[in-house]
Amino acid sequence: MATVPVAAGPPQLSTRDRWAQWARSLVVPWYNALLTACCLAVLLPGGWAVGVWAVRWARWDVVGANLRLFAVGTYPPAQAWRPLVALVLSVALAAFTGWALRRRQRRALWVAVALWLAWPAAVLGLVAPVRTSLWGGLLVTVLLSAGGIVLSFPLGVLLALGRRSRLGLVRVVCTAYIELVRGVPLVSVLFMAQLLLPLFVPGMRPDKLLRALVGITAFTAAYIAENVRGGLQGVPLGQYEAAYALGLSPAQALALVVLPQALRAVLPSIAGQFISLLKDTSLVAIMGILDLLGVARSVLAHPRWLGRQAEVYLFVGAVYWLLTYSLSRASRRLERPELHGRVE
């Protein structure tokens, strides 16, 4: 028997009707007409002025001339294939993971997980033969935020477990750490990592970029810990009890029953953390590290590009916007219920 699909939700409007509804909302009732008039009174002259500036007065050549700097900083051109290969591999891996998730290919998913675990080492192995002082631009921004989230994730899970531990001392120490870090700004943590870290490990002079990564990791771990704690609290007590009834030890119950559920529930908020980390890595520019924003500042310091602040900052802002907006769109798909069922 042929089945007729039943339309769900409100009746579908034709495109013309939708536009008519849109237009109607601008003028009905009377205060909407007033609002529209006020908006247009500000928007039209403002938009016109910005448009004229962007076309007539802005000198966008500063962007084209420095495109390489914005992408990889002073990374030697002969070695530019290294970050490029890393990028292609990452995109391929992400696409593969997405495919495995959508198709619920259990074996492929395990392969993907294994590859993701090996991924930081692979990327580092590809990019690292060039001195870090030559790294820059988007490359540093992406590496710092990806490295930060990968390193802070296990630390955050440990802190969250510690905060819920039955052992009083562990609980107090973990809680104190989390609250201390969450109470102070990231800049202060980054400056501490830059200035104090060398004092704590005398004899060694840790790389500037590494110090920034340590600061970012220490900071993000506290926030991830709070996310994970939320996920742990969301696992019903019955799950623990069922696990114990099956004869699992507390450690087994945690690793096999509770954590998988908790972590799956916090996946979207971890993705949100990654997105805000991507923005926050721009703070390393204050420390003189040439990430995307740092490169923008150093380009503007060049006498040839004096007075191009608006052009450069708008361009860099657009790059950040594209990255974070597309990531947040992608992460919204993580919240879809079909990804939370069992993967066969």
Binding site: W22, S25, L26, N32, L35, T36, C39, L43, L161, R164, S165, R166, L167, G168, L169, V170, V173, L180, G183, V184, P185, V187, S188, F191, M192, L195, L196, P198, L199, F200, V201, P202, L232, Q233, L237, Y240, E241, Y244, P250, L254, K279, D280, S282, L283, A285, I286, L293, A296, L300, Q309, A310, Y313, L314, V316, G317, Y320, W321, T324, Y325, S328
Partner: protein
């Protein structure tokens, strides 16, 4: 916060958590081991620190705070370069509180307006609100601050060419001049800034640094608050709207008397965290040269090399402010919370 059940679940079936209960033998051992590791790691780091500081000719003391600072601070409460480091730091704290307080006021107003605008039946207004929220939230705050400061406020016309907005507000390279409300013997009077010679006199001057930081923080946090407000308004059940309309309330009355009082309860906790974020984000003042507590602390650190005490001071200040703001708002939250019987 920590439910009894959670702790019990972690440790074993049926065991009650908390300090009061007795620990099993392995738990005592584990804690002792943890304490030992903690002391060992802490001791090692401390020894390293003292050794490094000695190599630099420094000791871990706060005594330097009474020495004369010797550097100028562009704005804030009364201060001379001859004053002590402690006084300089205090000026920074006051400046942080000043920018954070105004920022909180501005971001709350902006966020509420935009949050309600997102729900407007006027599609243009709703679209514009979405455009604002999505474009501001997805760009780093530091970038926005640098944009406002270097591309906008430092590019304003020089003082003598400044145009009056609404007859009394001047945007110039040297800052923003606003009319001030002053109490005279004849009652309150509006004091309008006047161009006298090469500069304005009267009124209030906001330095470009302060104005850029305040605008950046307001615009950025406003976008997050708008989302908080929208979420809270949407979380009020539709039935409440319909019931209010059935009672003959107008849209404005419905919003004011039915929806917002209910939404407020949901708004307050995330609002607290946005206020705290704004306060912490004001530390980016260092990028635009506004002398907030972090910026002044950094200058003190550069002059004295006393990195550890200065960082202790900075962290303690931010923690104190965080605790103060969240205590205040928690108090308020307790008052507006739904009282069920």
């Amino acid at each position: 916060m920590r439910g009894n059940g959670n702790a019990a679940g972690m440790a074993g079936a049926g065991a009650a958590g908390g300090w009061g209960s007795r620990y099993r033998a392995w738990e005592v051992g584990a804690q002792a081991l943890f304490a030992l590791l903690l002391v060992l790691a802490g001791g090692l780091l401390y020894a390293n620190l003292v050794r490094s500081l000695r190599a630099l000719g420094l000791t871990l003391q706060f005594e330097f705070l009474s020495h004369p600072a010797g550097f100028g601070i562009a704005e804030g409460p009364a201060y001379q370069p001859g004053d002590s480091y402690a006084r300089a730091f205090w000026v920074g704290v006051v400046n942080t509180v000043r920018v954070a307080a105004w920022g909180i006021v501005g971001a709350t107003v902006l966020g509420t307006v935009v949050g309600v605008a997102r729900l407007s039946s006027n599609r243009l207004v709703a679209r514009l609100a979405v455009l604002y929220v999505e474009s501001v939230r997805n760009v780093p705050l530091l970038l926005q601050l640098l944009f406002w400061y270097t591309a906008v406020f430092l590019n304003l016309p020089p003082v003598r060419e400044a145009r009056a907005w609404l007859g009394a507000i001047y945007f110039t390279q040297r800052g923003v001049y606003l009319p001030a409300l002053r109490w005279t013997q004849a009652g309150p009077a509006l004091e309008v800034p006047q161009l006298v010679g090469f500069n304005f006199q009267g009124g209030i001057r906001l330095s470009p640094e302060f104005a850029a930081l305040l605008l950046g923080l307001t615009v950025y946090t406003g976008a997050f608050i708008a989302e908080v407000v929208r979420g809270a308004v949407q979380s009020v059940p539709r039935g409440q709207w319909e019931a209010a309309q059935a009672l003959g309330l107008t849209y404005g009355q419905t919003l004011r008397k039915v929806i917002l009082p209910q939404a407020l309860r949901i708004i307050v906790p995330p609002l607290i965290s946005q206020y705290l974020n704004l306060t912490k984000n004001s530390s980016l003042a260092i990028a635009v040269g506004y002398p907030d507590l972090f910026n002044v602390g950094h200058t003190i650190l550069n002059q004295t090399g006393q990195s550890v005490p200065v960082f202790v001071l900075i962290m303690a200040s931010y923690l104190a402010m965080s605790l103060f703001v969240s205590a205040l708002l928690n108090l308020y939250n307790r008052r507006i919370r739904l009282v069920e019987r």
